[in-house]
């Protein structure tokens, strides 16, 4: 048999008998932005427990490029999808040219402007999407026997719309995808709504310099949150965070690492006092340094779970 000059027509009809149980997708309540390479493998699809064990740690993967990012709870959806594109011949016969795109506008409120600004960093099509419906089903697409994220034409987090005194401030994102991914190419698994919603995204820890670099020391506050509302992590993790293993310091001009010799929690300022090794060849009293965090897993090992420390330049004078 040859495939030369062969246009396969295929047998694309399907039997239409209906059993007692069928998958009926419910309303979207959230989901994940996932790297294009992310899949739940066939082996991990053997049981619900294995699938959850593959999904949950990915939300706090050490490497951002391997991390999945939970989306906020959807409070309402506007379906802006294209209707199938039809063509009418001169004598009136009509054919469907293409299915049109799904375009879902997902409204949310959790995290407000903070999450809105974070999600804007994903605008574009660099990430795939896995949906979560109200019945606890994850929606992906089949790649072999694996469940992969659905390629998006675009993820677009909309700039917020201010409250008009009657309606709340509006936060939403748009998902644009080809319809085949949620129809003939869909892959779905039931993991339970509560179990999936328990998978949380990481929060940033932002160092805020509160004193000039004095000799080989400086003090920072470690804060989480954004949009003008900060939480001092000193109040929650003074002991856990005060550990040189949680941090990394490099000289700003060279990127070379400087040894951290000690970290102390400072009650009066709710800060953390860092001491660097003044004999380190990369250390210089007048040079700016960059403070960043160890990996997410190191932090979690020190009981600071669910956070990532963002790099911050510590200047010689403030």
């Amino acid at each position: 048999m040859s495939i030369l000059n062969s246009a396969p027509c295929g047998v694309s009809n399907g039997n239409t008998g209906i059993g007692d149980c069928s998958f009926d997708p419910k309303n979207l309540v959230g989901g994940f932005l996932v790297p294009k390479s992310f899949v739940i493998t066939a082996a991990n699809l053997a049981t619900k427990e294995l699938a959850l064990a593959a999904l949950a740690p990915a939300a706090s993967a050490d490497l951002p490029a391997q991390r999945i990012y939970p989306l906020p709870l959807t409070l309402g959806m506007t379906n802006n999808s294209e209707t199938p594109v039809k063509f009418s011949y001169g004598y009136g016969a009509q054919v469907t040219v293409r299915d049109g795109m799904y375009i879902f506008n997902q409204a949310y409120a959790d995290g407000s402007l903070c999450i809105s600004n974070q999600l804007m960093k994903f605008n574009g099509n660099r990430y795939n999407w896995i949906g979560l419906d109200a019945a606890g089903f994850l929606w992906g697409t089949k790649v072999g026997n694996d469940l992969a994220g659905i390629p998006l034409n675009e993820f677009y987090n909309n700039p917020f719309t201010p409250s008009d005194g009657t309606n709340p401030t509006g936060y939403s994102y748009d998902l644009s995808l080809n319809k085949n991914y949620l129809n003939q190419d869909i892959a779905f698994i039931s993991l339970g709504l509560a179990q999936v919603q328990a998978i949380k995204g990481l929060q940033n820890i932002v160092p805020v310099q509160i004193s000039a670099k004095a000799a080989n020391t400086f003090t920072v506050r470690l804060q989480t949150g954004c949009g003008g509302s900060y939480s001092e992590l000193y109040d929650l993790y003074a002991t856990e965070l005060a550990d040189p293993a949680n941090f990394k310091i490099v000289r700003a001009s060279t990127g070379n690492e400087i040894d951290i010799t000690s970290v102390a929690a400072v009650p009066n300022s709710k800060g953390f006092l860092f001491t660097m090794d003044a004999t380190d060849t990369d250390y210089s009293a007048g040079a700016d340094v960059i403070l960043s965090g160890s990996t997410v897993s190191v932090l979690a090992g020190n009981d600071v779970v669910g956070f990532e420390i963002i790099a911050k330049t510590i200047v010689a004078t403030v």
Binding site: N216, A242, S262, L273, T275, D277
Partner: protein
């Protein structure tokens, strides 16, 4: 520099690498006795400073 009554956590790797005098010199802002205690914790075979 005035000593600050804080209880820092030291890098064990650092304390193992340097002498007690070096550790004290690098941390003039901490109580000298505290630095000594911490250094001896990770260098238990070293003789106590006289």
């Amino acid at each position: 520099m005035k000593a600050v009554p804080l209880k820092p956590k030291f890098s064990v790797k650092y304390l193992k690498r340097v002498s007690l005098d070096e550790a004290i010199k690098n941390h003039p802002h901490f109580d000298k006795k505290l630095v000594e205690e911490e250094w001896h914790k990770v260098n238990p075979k070293a003789e106590p400073k006289k």
